[in-house]
Symmetry: C2
Subunit: 277 residues, 2 copies
């Protein structure tokens, strides 16, 4: 049991400025596995211009986290779900103004579930994106709070061949590289920290897997047009390790695709959907 | 024929400040192939502290290049040789004060040869390193200048098994990653630029190969002690491509090792020596 501070709900952070250059955009792309052949993600002077992967928005977003209350034990906070909603293309450089907010804390009995939203705007006030984190605080439920709505299952149609399937190998140094984009949790690099977290060895960042999946969706059905991805929601259902191969599959629905990501041995992103133009 | 401006010789640049953090150190290490297992190069909180590869000094050095004269055609400037001399360990973060100088321009007939030296100091004036570039300016010889001294050959002893041999695979994205440490020449990423430069496809930065070799020397005979490498001189004798495997071999001599680096098909670093403690 932990003390859950419900008073943090609805309090917005002061606007925070995130300034970045094309190097941050390219470092992120390499961090989610972009290759030298994917010139438009890794080359600032690419013939058709540098393209920003839509999931890049998580890099600034992580810097605008709101206060989640005192005495929170971060080692028991697990990233459960992620949704990004893109209002317009992310610029290749400049300043993004962000506001963070704990929008809700639900009581799921075994754990508390924090819903956190980061909103990003351009300097002139244009809405760029909303990024929604769902974080499970293990063992912190039972505080008599609202259990919240039941998640609607999003499952691939049974026995139906996917409309696309793209596999990428995760390099052995992938987590070491991805973390330079800002998530320095030692769980993803330090074998001792991984053991303390209950893993045999360091695991890949959930958001790195999420970036691989975003790249697969853009490179596959969206044919490289980063601006066509409007929303991507994912649940992190199993850990990924550097060296794994990630296979992203999609089944066409009206608004986009039901998405599932697998390693050789597990479903690692489930209950997932991409909304596309 | 080109105009060679001999008046640039001996003119020192104003001191230039290079400020960096552990992230630059780690980005460089990943850029020269360090893996997630080499925690002391890639993890800021490594148990025995973050170690700076001695060849990291080329990252600041490239920012302190002196004026080499007007109307120089950089597309005909080839990096021929590199020597680093380390006076003390490179800090994991901070400010380095550098001065650059064209120390000589020799007339080799077919080309002009520029010798460029960058000296680095700590903020309190402690001598950190000297970095010496030898650059061939193709087709710019015959200006009636000093031919300079003949290079002394440094060859491995014939038929003798090396004292160490370490192979590292160069990742397909290696040049895309290495260039984020500051050498943005499109020759190393853009297939069109590579063709204009006379190559079938983008080649690895010579200094990236140099970093792989430095890592091999430190990880091998120096058993991970970055402070034992005092000097490393290398000639770039053939291009390396992402995907190649680099084998660094060393033959013990009094002061250190004669070094040679091969790919599967060519000697890529020759006339090379490491001086060690």
């Amino acid at each position: 049991m932990s003390n859950i501070d419900l008073s943090v709900i609805g309090k917005k952070t002061e606007p925070r400025i995130f300034e970045y250059t094309w190097k941050d955009v390219v470092l992120y792309a390499l961090g989610v596995g972009a290759t030298a052949e994917e010139l438009s993600y890794v080359y600032e002077n690419a013939a058709d211009g540098l393209k920003v992967l839509p999931s890049f928005c998580v890099v600034p977003a992580i810097r605008a986290f709101p206060d989640v209350g005192k005495n929170v034990d971060w080692s028991r906070m697990l990233h459960g779900e992620m949704t990004i909603c893109l209002a317009r293309p992310i610029p290749t450089e400049g300043k993004i103004i962000q506001v963070g907010e704990v929008t809700n804390i639900f009581d799921k009995g075994k754990g508390a579930v924090y819903h956190i939203q980061i909103t990003g705007q351009t300097e002139d006030g244009g809405h760029l994106y909303d990024v929604d984190w769902v974080i499970f605080y293990v063992g912190a439920g039972g505080f008599g709070g609202d259990p919240g709505p039941k998640a609607e299952p999003i499952d691939p149609p049974h026995g139906v061949v996917p409309d696309f399937s793209i596999s990428y190998k995760v390099a052995e140094n992938q987590a070491a590289l991805y973390r330079l984009s800002g998530d320095l949790n030692p769980l993803h690099l330090d074998p001792e920290a991984a053991k303390r977290g209950g893993f045999d060895k360091p695991i890949l960042h959930g958001l790195c897997t999420y970036g691989f999946a975003t790249r697969a969706i853009v490179n596959g059905p969206l044919q490289g047009d980063v601006n066509r991805l409007k929303e991507f929601k994912a649940r992190f259902s199993d850990p990924v390790y550097p060296g794994d191969t990630l296979t992203t599959r999609g089944w066409k629905i009206d608004q986009g695709y039901i998405i599932q990501v697998n390693t050789e041995s597990a479903v690692v992103i489930s209950n997932s959907m991409a909304i596309v133009d």
